[in-house]
Symmetry: C2
Subunit: 197 residues, 2 copies
């Protein structure tokens, strides 16, 4: 019923996460009102993702160079490394603007149920970085889930022999959230992690 060029772009939008049939149609039709230059930029941007994006040889972050801009940055400390699950997580920490160290992207979390073992996550290159001797602390910034906990325990075991500090970010009540909406396990972690005031 739709012209094939509309149908194709609807199908592409539908492949994106959280976009169903109706939203895909709405987005496709909105493109019709874009001017030609904007459509060219959009198409070119996707081609660039196809041709230029790769993962950083050092930390696993996404980059359009061999080494990402964070690893290249001489002003950032090599003493601390945030270990994150996804490249996208880096943006979250960069936005709060309090951190001047490096990152390491695992890509996945260990999840035996999904067939993801320790060998499937980007860990060997973390050990290589540790062996170079500049890293003094590793901060695990993984989500507090079964997979997150498993991965954190595994990394602790692997990293322990090198005698560096391994910490994890706090699990607790998010700012502005009413306690009645918090699940029992988070409450337990929050109690355990209580601090003197």
């Amino acid at each position: 019923m739709y012209p094939s060029s509309i149908k194709n772009v609807i199908d592409c939008f539908k492949d994106l996460p959280g976009i169903g049939e109706k939203t895909a149609e709405r987005l496709a039709f909105s493109l019709i009102n874009f001017n030609k230059d904007k459509l060219t930029s959009f198409s070119d941007a996707i081609v660039d993702i196809r041709d230029k994006i790769t993962t950083c040889a050092i930390c696993g972050n996404i980059t359009d160079d061999n080494v990402c801009s964070i690893c290249r940055d001489k002003d950032r400390s090599d003493n601390i490394v945030f270990v994150v699950e996804k490249a996208k997580d880096i943006a979250l920490f960069e936005k709060i603007n309090v951190y001047n160290g490096k990152y390491h992207v695992l890509g996945k979390l260990i999840s035996p149920l999904d067939g993801v073992g320790p060998e499937d996550i980007n860990l060997d290159s973390l050990v290589d970085r540790i062996k170079k001797g500049t890293i003094k602390e590793i901060i695990l910034t993984l989500k507090p889930s079964i997979e997150g906990e498993t991965t954190m325990q595994y990394i602790k075991k692997i990293v322990e022999p090198y005698g560096i500090r391994v910490t994890r970010i706090a699990t607790g009540i998010p700012v502005g959230t009413d306690i009645e909406y918090i699940d029992p396990m988070t409450l337990e972690f929050a109690l355990e992690g209580r601090k003197d005031i």
Copy 2:
């Protein structure tokens, strides 16, 4: 902070309706996991929208030909025309699969406040179609809003001299909606449009 190819695609997604910064980032990152063929199709589909999509010379529907597939269809009746606001509205009626006539796309509704006058909507070509003499009824399927009502009244005035029937779809309570959530104006229309059972 992001590689420029990611930044560009985030900016493109942000231009789409209902897509904010966070969603744009999520969508852009999801593209990284697409395979190269899929990214090529996506980029090509957008180029096709740029190069092929035009409006039907007869009804104003979007098409990648001079005349749209509905206007070309010899099996569809020329006696009835649904007058819709947007090309996308056609899809709604085609999906319920009860209609075998033609369409006419106005593009916009008359809206003096937004500076849209009768001369800005695709009406001359509707009159041209009527003059050919095959149209027996025009069904106005516009939304019941100030702009919709104004446009319907205007079209009625223009079409009246040709002696064809002009109807409008019913305004009333949507199926499955509780009456308590219905605004007073809709209730009034629904009462006015009551039918014997």
